[in-house]
Amino acid sequence: MTAIVELTDLTIRYGDIIAVAGLSLSLQPGGCLGIVGESGSGKSQTGLALMGLLPKAANVSGAIRFGGLSVSGAQRRERIAMVYQDPQSSLTPHMRIAAQLAEGMAHPAADKIEAALRRAGLPDPTRVAKAYPHALSGGMRQRAMLAMALARQPDLIIADEPTTALDATVQMELLQEFVKIKQAGTAIMLISHDIGVVAGLADDVMVMKSGAVVEAGPAETVLTAPQHDYTRELIAASVIKAQSTCRHNPAKTPRIAVQGLSKTYRLGGDLFAQRRSITALHPIDVTLHDGETLAIVGESGSGKSTLAKLILGLEQPSVGRVTWDGADIAQLSAAQLRAARTKVQPIFQDPFASFDPQRSLGASIQDAIDMHHSHSSVTALLADVGLPPDFAAKYPHEASGGQNQRAAIARALACAPDILICDETLSALDKTTQTQVLALLAKLKREKNLSMLFISHDLDVVRAIADRVVILKDGRLVEEGSVDDIYERSSDPYTCKLLAAQTVPDVAAMRAKISAFETSAPAP
């Protein structure tokens, strides 16, 4: 059988910089090649070279053969389609889905467009075709992107991190679509940092690092018996190790109690617009006991971040109350509340937005120390979180995500809190850094006897650190229980679905998970 794509000794240079060095690969119809590597490893450059879309400055050598022939980039583009990471920015906001699909088709027709949307697994293609991108959920937009790719009946789909921006359950549903596309004979080049996703889909895996291929071969072989240290590191990092947070029986003293708490946002409501309201959180009761780690788990739109803001007193609840050590925070005066805040400190998601860009990390931490007249020093706090003293002089953009997040923890510790509220603290970090920051949080919790509210969408991370888990969906509490109850004995269908959507870096297990995953119709 002729290979769809054959690259021989592809090298891409920008002046003295080698972006891709001597890369060779071939891809059969219906095959899937997974390319794994960090950013800057040359994955995306390879994709662009295939599309003939490299900038003029690029110096390309080597042979690109498509369907056995050496054809120009423009001709290759006719036969290749791309699916990008961010469905929000890869669809034109002002065009209806049907119009965007029609653009890529030689002879657009309404029935062909609907057929393409149906093939991408959209349940109501007539309605979706008429919709604008903003009216669709993230998963549906990504399916519409996929439909755009399929509408051109390509021989090859290059999927660059196609599921990274999606919730785990939606990711699984999309992976099922990719499996079907593969079975229909279209070749897929899957670029991803998630070993689990690659394991589920790819026949062959190529590991890249700084422009060179580190290791390549059948997925089974590479993932179960990696030959190269770098591959081993990547696979090891994809599994979060459990942290010992001394899971003794915590005393049942409530530190934070939430009673009948709900939040409704009113939208619009000026002279010209009808007032609409969205309930982000339905009445909920949650209690964080002394010394425990309580995880709040949910996908996007589950209301978990709203809950965090309400608990922190950064937003006012519509109904219900939040108590810190028995004191209703709505009853405290502004000054009392400011004083009480020393006890409860947040750590947010975005490591770069967590700090004032105009101030050095040290100055921001010093602010927190001054605020509470605490006796700690910036250097001591930095040492607590494993950063050298010279970090005090750095600005947020000069530090890495993981380092900023450590500094954010240092700032939270500056006023000696009893309770940490971690809102998706690890989500913006890569897996290796996640493990390190998680270990740091577990260590601090042990040493300083903290209670922790840990808000996350990632069940692996939660299992590694939590004592008790609350699962939220669409602003409602679905299930609550100990880690073992939730992970081993849950009977709730949504919890089971979340668990089934976790990726594992194992070919057989991941494929079984994908085919067994129960698809529900994507919500409109």
Binding site: R341, T342, S364, R411, C415
Partner: protein, 275 residues
């Protein structure tokens, strides 16, 4: 940090021309043989010559001396009005944006109302109220310029408020005024610098316009605008009276505008480079 770095990459030619104009207006009158008010009724409407490089006007006053004195007024109006409008606009906009809700609505609707007043009508009303005075020009210009500044600052503040570092500052228990002063206002630097630089020529322009209509600076004080106004009358037989103030006003405005654009581009590049 960003602002000082941006200054080093500004275009040299407009910087140089502007420096010459500003220095000449500041120090020129000290070394000129004539003062701006010194009349010589025997030597009226003299064409440019060695004694009077830019000629003399209807009262025999040296045009170059008057031009430099007028420049002081025009530049001072531009700077002072911009400083005043920036101060009002930043305080007002940051407060409205940070408070949000009803306060924000009420404050910004007030801005809309003032925006909707026709400018000339506004100036004439002011004139009736406070009379024809130098201050009138400052007040009139500042009263118009601060509105746009307030809108820009308010928008930036609203988006800054959502940033996690502001939330973290609130969770640390920092009082609102301290969050505004230390965390919000310093981060407004880029848009404020850009808008302020671009509003200096705007203010000079408005001053010239008012003076041209006779609503601005009064004799014997003068500004570039009022010199243009009196130059127009004698345009046919003494064109130097019109040409010299018109040229220097145009050159100054162009230099300031080019500089403003350059500062904006420099800060934009920094912003897109990931700051």
């Amino acid at each position: 940090m960003t602002a000082t770095n941006a200054m080093t990459s500004l275009p040299r030619a407009p910087m140089a021309v502007l420096s010459v104009i500003v220095l000449a207006c500041l120090f020129g009158p000290f070394i000129m043989p004539y003062t701006a008010e010194q009349m010589d009724l025997l030597d009226t409407y003299a064409a440019p010559s060695l004694a009077h490089p830019l000629g003399t006007d209807a009262l025999g006053r040296d045009v170059l001396a008057r031009l430099l004195a007028a420049g002081r007024i025009s530049l001072a109006v531009g700077l002072a009005a911009t400083l005043a409008s920036s101060f009002i606009g930043i305080s007002y906009g940051a407060l409205a944006g940070y408070r949000g809700g009803w306060t924000d609505q009420a404050m910004m609707r007030f801005v809309d109302v003032v925006y909707a007043l026709p400018f000339l009508f506004f100036v004439i009303v002011l004139m009736v109220v406070i009379g024809r005075h130098m201050w009138l020009i400052f007040i009139a210009i500042a009263a118009v310029e601060w509105l746009t500044m307030a809108r820009i600052v308010r928008g930036q503040t609203v988006s800054l408020k959502q940033m996690e570092f502001i939330q973290a500052a609130r969770a640390l228990g920092l009082p609102p005024w301290r969050i505004l002063l230390r965390h919000i206002v310093p981060n407004l630097r880029s848009p404020v610098i850009v808008f302020a630089t671009l509003s200096i020529p705007q203010a000079i322009m408005i001053e010239s316009f008012l003076s041209f209509l006779g609503l601005g600076v009064q004799e014997p004080m003068t500004s570039w605008g009022s010199m243009i106004k009196s130059g127009v009358v004698d345009m046919e037989f003494a064109p130097w009276l019109l040409v010299s103030p018109a040229v220097i006003l145009a050159v100054t405005l162009i230099c300031l505008t080019v500089l403003g654009d350059a500062i904006r581009d420099a800060l934009d590049k920094r912003a897109s480079a990931g700051l």
